[in-house]
């Protein structure tokens, strides 16, 4: 039943000119993580280095609390796009969760350097102050 729903969603999306990633984002936003993961997995088969797909996959894995695995995907996303502050924010939080303080500091430093909005800039500073004074 689920696969039929997925086929229908994909077909609908393609008919209306929407990419797989666009649909995956909409599925994540409506908490349909399983369906989103199926779409992203399929997309990653042909676009292994796509930073957006890797980021979406990392978000899905975080939702499933598969933190170790999520780290691999966020690292891949960063490897192909190294100036997006939000990717570093997610990496920082993942490393902190995995008690990898040094990597967390590096990620938050990059987040701080690339942050374009004040909230994220301040948040990165708070994390850096906390982690460096440990």
């Amino acid at each position: 039943m689920k696969s039929i729903a997925l086929i229908v969603i994909t077909a609908f999306g393609i008919c209306f000119g929407q990419s797989e990633l666009g649909q995956a984002i909409e599925l994540v936003n409506s908490n349909r993580y399983e369906e989103a993961e199926n779409l992203v997995d399929t997309y990653l088969l042909d676009h292994n280095d796509d930073h957006r797909a890797n980021f979406i996959k990392a978000l899905i894995l975080i939702h499933k609390k598969h933190y170790n695995n999520a780290t691999k995907f966020i690292e891949k996303a960063i490897a192909s796009k190294n100036d997006k502050a939000e990717y570093y924010q997610l990496a920082g939080q993942l490393y902190e969760n995995l008690k990898n303080t040094n990597s967390a500091i590096q990620a938050w430093e990059k987040c701080h350097a690339h942050a374009k909005d004040t909230k994220l800039f301040v948040e990165a500073k708070i994390h850096l102050n906390y982690l460096k004074k440990k």
Partner: protein, 195 residues
Amino acid sequence: MRYLKITFLTLCTLLHCATQQVPLLQPGYDYSKIKTITVQDVKDFPYAKGSGEIVFNALSDHLMELGIDIAEIQNPSNILLLCSISDFNDKRTKYIPIEIIDKGSTATDRAYAESDNSEKTTPGRKDTHIGETITRTKEIKYTDIAVGIKLQLLDVGKNMVVWSSDFTYSALNQTEALNKCIDGALRPLKKILKK
């Protein structure tokens, strides 16, 4: 008119208080005397039932780790710790923009697309471009957890605030956000007590 004046003055006072930093330390106060603290009950954060108790328990545990005894509220110590929760969001949702490249057929409403041109438009007519690529920005939901607290240490006998702190931290799980928030808020106190 009088009512407006009072409201304006109240707002100004509130704004002044909000931007003023409460003194972090009381000069000349002997912090080495602090051995026992009474932690006052913590009120729940709006729409987060039970958050007060969670913060109260975690705060008491952290204080005990600092070597401070916790006095019962029935038999209070001279030092009272007030805590208010400034943030307790177990689903802090942010939207992150992602550029998506759409391929395939797209339809453009000419009447809308050409509305700025002097040419006569054909209302309702749509153009379809097969195989075109369009880059658009979509936003994806990202949820994490944030916990924030404000602490005030009162010397009841002297009726004054002797120390205060304010800290917020975000993480992927509630335990981590809570523990790091309390740890971060209590760090300055830890330093003072060590002296």
